[in-house]
């Protein structure tokens, strides 16, 4: 039962993260490979604020979201005019640099040793210990992410996002504030990702830079693409599928490092197959233009 709750927590966290990437990649057409590092920023900020400053969980996560927004503006403001592959490369560079910083700024982050002893969250006086109650918390946050995405997508801002996705120059020609919109949606996406990272930190109670590396970013992209970009159901389907399948493989009993690399190959292969054969994914509406 605890194991089931654990899987549900992971699914909920990854639904939140996938919604954040889907908002940027699926609705605005800006594929980002930096979302694992943004989640990592949220995780580390929340953990450090709670552990070192004794702040409550909600304040930690909020602070993490703020840091995520600031970090996103460092990427989005210089790249307002960038198209296609250069934008993706810039986000990739950001992911690498941030991973390096988390690994090397040992004074703050304890480098590869990671931060342990992150306390469980306390909401309104209740401390959330058991996996079942954490599943409820993570589930609530995932639902909030879903509702926020739905609200944005259905609003005039959402229409500008989809116009940007289709043809950003044409959108700008009709007078829409495309560049400002890109910065705003990146900020919202980063805040959501940082929130997911913060929840992850307080659930696992230990974080290290390796958990937020390049492979994680690729995994998140695979979740969005396979589930379906540009739709509200895509992140949910993708996260559920890509969390449950490896968990089932766990029972096959491969040795640990083989399992890790096998997972890498399968994420890469799944992403490749999805982009080539069914870019819209399972329930998506946007095929990345191809």
């Amino acid at each position: 039962m605890d194991y089931l709750a654990h899987v549900l927590v992971l699914i909920a966290i990854y639904v939140t993260l996938a919604h954040s990437l889907n908002l940027l990649a699926g609705y605005t057409g800006l594929v980002s490979l930096a979302h694992a590092s943004l989640a990592g920023l949220g995780a580390y900020t929340s953990a450090l604020v709670v552990v070192r400053l004794g702040a409550p969980f909600s304040l930690g996560v909020l602070f993490g979201m703020l840091v995520g927004v600031v970090a996103s503006s460092m990427m989005s403001v210089p790249s307002q005019r960038m198209r296609g592959d250069l934008f993706i490369f810039v986000t990739f560079a950001f992911q690498i640099v941030l991973s390096n910083i988390l690994n090397n700024w040992s004074a703050l982050t304890r480098g590869p040793l990671g931060l342990s002893g992150i306390p469980p969250p306390t909401i309104l006086g209740l401390t959330i210990h058991s996996p079942a109650s954490f599943a409820a918390l993570a589930g609530c946050i995932a639902v909030i992410a879903h509702l926020v995405t739905r609200q944005i997508v259905g609003s005039p801002l959402g229409r500008i996002l989809r116009a940007t996705r289709g043809d950003d120059i044409a959108a700008e020609a009709t007078g829409k504030p495309v560049r400002m919109t890109k910065v705003i949606v990146f900020a919202v996406s980063a805040a959501m990702a940082a929130c997911g990272g913060g929840v992850y930190a307080h659930y696992i109670t230990f974080i290290d830079p390796a958990s937020f590396g390049v492979m994680e970013s690729v995994f998140l992209l695979a979740v969005v693409v396979v589930g379906g970009a540009g739709s509200l159901g895509g992140p949910v389907v993708g996260a559920s599928l890509l969390i449950v399948l490896p968990e089932m493989l766990r029972f096959v009993g491969f040795p640990a490092n083989v399992a890790g690399h096998l997972r890498e190959v399968s994420y890469g292969g799944l992403l490749l197959a999805a982009i080539m054969l069914r870019p819209r994914g399972l329930v998506g509406k946007y095929g990345f233009g191809g």
């Binding site: 057409g29 594929v31 490979l33 210089p78 790249s79 005019r81 960038m82 198209r83 296609g84 592959d85 250069l86 993706i88 490369f89 810039v90 990739f92 560079a93 690498i96 640099v97 390096n100 910083i101 090397n104 390049v214 492979m215 690729v218 992209l221 695979a222 693409v225 490092n257 083989v258 690399h261 096998l262 890498e264 190959v265 994420y267 890469g268 292969g269 992403l271 490749l272 982009i275 080539m276 870019p279 095929g287 990345f288 233009g289 191809g290």
Partner: protein, 291 residues
């Protein structure tokens, strides 16, 4: 001290330069952002190490096998991934993501085959070093610089003067028009990827002799190569010089900042470049796909 840093920087910079010229060639041939170039590099390096150490082949034979392995990997990628995507008129984004996914698969397969541990190449590396002007150079560094400059010049001349080289540039600039005037664009793309992969293999062989091989070795040199290709502009010599300069800057930075930040420095260079040249909207620095 400074002289040694410059020499070290030239050595590693020229090595990245070979990789960068290969990437630029592939891109000029109309293949989009060939992220899997990093994987081809790793395949070449690890094949070289494996055939040299495990099968006991001679150095030239191992090098040939490594080049063949890289070329085959590149052609397989083209047949299985790039051509089908280009046929469906896939967007730049789709090409990038699929190339990235292909790299992840290549890296994962290499990890499954060879394990994660770093492997070294033993007897191939000629022992000893050359000393001149108060700096010490390893044979690998000398080879990197010599081969790098040589390859860059050959590639530049080939690209500018020969029929195939011109066909390559034409395909990269406007594929449909190239097809209209009778250039076999599919053949040209194959040529581009083989040329790029051969260069990647050579860079891999030199790296194997320098620092050893491991499955994820392709990523960081590749990222430096992309930055070099972006900053270097449209011409191949420019790309090579940019790579060499980045290498020198990285190694000289060690004199002032801790070495752990050395790798990230190339991204600082990228950031400065992007902020200074605010009109950069695409990888037009490579003179290929976007005008």
């Amino acid at each position: 001290m400074v002289g040694q840093a410059i020499l070290n920087g030239l050595g590693s910079g020229c090595l990245v330069g070979i990789l960068a010229v290969g990437f630029a060639l592939a891109r000029r041939g109309g293949l989009g952002f060939h992220f899997a170039h990093a994987g081809v590099f790793a395949v070449g390096a690890m094949t070289f190490q494996a055939t040299l150490e495990c099968w006991g082949l001679t150095t030239p034979a191992a090098a040939c096998l490594a080049i063949i392995a890289s070329a085959v990997t590149g052609l397989t990628l083209q047949c299985l991934v790039y051509e089908p995507l280009l046929f469906t008129r896939a967007s730049e984004t789709s090409m990038f993501v699929s190339s990235l996914a292909a790299y992840i698969v290549i890296q994962g397969v290499l990890s499954l085959f060879f394990g994660d541990a770093s492997r070294v190449v033993g007897p191939w590396r000629a022992s000893g070093s050359y000393e001149f002007l108060a700096v010490r150079a390893t044979p690998t560094q000398v080879l990197s610089v010599a081969i790098g400059i040589g390859l860059c010049l050959v590639a530049a001349v080939w690209s500018k003067t020969t029929k195939n080289g011109k066909a390559l540039r034409a395909t990269g600039q406007d594929m449909r028009l190239a097809a209209v005037v009778g250039i076999g664009v599919r053949r040209v793309r194959s040529l581009a990827i083989v040329a790029g992969s051969v260069l990647a293999a050579l860079a891999g062989i030199l790296t194997a002799g320098d620092t050893g091989v491991f499955p994820t070795m392709g990523l960081m040199p590749f990222l430096s190569a992309v930055v070099a290709a972006l900053i270097g502009g449209g011409g191949l010599p420019g790309v090579f010089v940019a790579a060499a300069t980045i290498g020198v800057v990285q190694h000289m930075s060690v004199l002032w900042i801790p070495t752990i930040w050395q790798e990230s420095l190339v991204f600082l260079v990228l950031a400065v470049y992007l902020i200074v040249r605010r009109s950069v909207s695409g990888l037009s620095g490579l003179g290929a796909l976007d005008a």
